[in-house]
Subunit: 257 residues, 2 copies
């Protein structure tokens, strides 16, 4: 997880752990990474890596320990419900070497929620109030059962509606970041027509990160060139150079396809 | 990456590496994991873990080395085009400690493809024929530029249309696997109503893996109970027990919500 570019060096870093057999088996498509990734980027944080791992206490615990030493914030999603395959709280407690214990405020919220609904707060339901010792709560405005934070590890639900609501609850904990400035230039030239020149531009504008993303849509081909930097002057200078390069190549008919 | 369940112990194992800054920044939503995961499951392989990592030679190389020692097959997707941010071939070569060199058959295919299209096979385009020494090709029926395999690492394109075509090309290399048998039971009971009993059923049917997945759709709530095993008799016995449990709980009105 070394930093690839020099241009983002003062930003807080994140890693995401997506927990769930159902994603690894292809039964369920994860919808949390796209949301979290986009929001973290908007907030000025750098998402360094993401892992999708099974509902295994040992794997979750070792992944949490690996990441929490490497990044500022670790987000997990999945495995905090009432059933036997929900093992995230146990695993995170193991990662920190602390016991799981009933969190009084979480228990109060669950009891109040079930009482309002006329539902029995049975042992399985109250298990959702069992958290690593020292955890603080992450509010769940949808179905009350809270997520939790322990040190730099933030444990969120897997159900996307709840995961997103919890994410928005924790935004203030990230502190103020400065989003990268970004510009996308679309061209119908193929990557091979400009790749060498673009590499030269990239090395000249080393504080701007230039990505090249070919898009195939219904047999129409285009390339999105995405420029990202933490300084808008640097960005616009680089963007002008990319524009000039593409304009020049577009006038050179022999290399257009 | 320890194996979580005992029921899948003879299956070939896989890990997937998704390479791309654009996925970590939230700009692009990965579409390859859902496809690969579903197909691997259908083919009887076990997907143990997936990582999304940046376009960094060092990170790609270390991830490849970590995974190739742990699983039977490592699949990578992304980073094999002609632009400066396509660094996967270089990184995989570093992982194996071999040089990158021009692959003659890959070069022949690219030259023939560009010649047919009247396009110049310039340096950037021909760079797509540069691969780790010892690599064998993975056909690309869409745009010719091949993927490659070195030992147990299979390097595929990132563009979903090409990634899927390459995946189907490599299916025979996985050998014959036996897909798990699976059954999904849908209930409108909430997880909390059956979680304790289901945990007891899970421990009785230890060769069947029972997952519980709550679904929220337009305020309608249901739970999908997914049973997976490598033996259909064991599966159907467990499924009958789950059915009986749910039927019994449905008759008990006090715990229905």
């Amino acid at each position: 997880m070394s930093r690839a570019g020099a241009c983002m060096s003062n930003r807080a870093t994140c890693a995401i752990i997506i927990i769930g057999d159902e994603i690894l088996s292809g039964r369920t498509t994860d919808a949390n990474l796209p949301y979290f990734a986009r929001r973290l980027d908007e907030l000025g944080l750098v998402l360094r890596e993401t892992r999708v791992i099974p509902d295994s206490i040992a794997v979750i615990a070792s992944t949490v320990n690996e990441y929490r030493a490497q990044v500022d914030f670790v987000l997990t999603t999945g495995g905090i419900g009432p059933t036997h395959d929900d093992v995230t709280a146990r695993a995170v407690a193991d990662a920190f070497g602390v016991p799981v214990e009933r969190h009084p405020e979480a228990a109060r919220r669950l009891e109040s929620y079930y009482s309002r609904r006329g539902t029995k707060p049975n042992a399985a339901r109250m298990r959702m109030a069992d958290m690593p010792r020292g955890a603080t709560l992450i509010d769940n405005p949808i179905s009350q059962a809270p997520g939790f934070q322990i040190e730099n590890v933030l444990v969120l639900a897997g159900v996307p509606e709840i995961a997103r609501a919890m994410f928005e609850e924790i935004v203030p904990r990230f502190g103020r970041g400065t989003p990268l400035v970004t510009q996308t230039i679309v061209t119908t030239l193929p990557e091979g027509a400009f790749a060498s020149d673009l590499a030269e531009l990239q090395s000249r504008h080393h504080r701007v990160r230039i990505g090249s993303y070919p898009i195939y849509e219904r047999n129409r081909h285009s390339v999105h060139l995405v420029l990202r930097a933490d300084d808008s002057d640097l960005l616009s200078t680089a963007a002008k150079d990319v524009d000039s390069l593409l304009a020049q190549l577009s006038r050179s008919p022999k290399d257009r396809s």
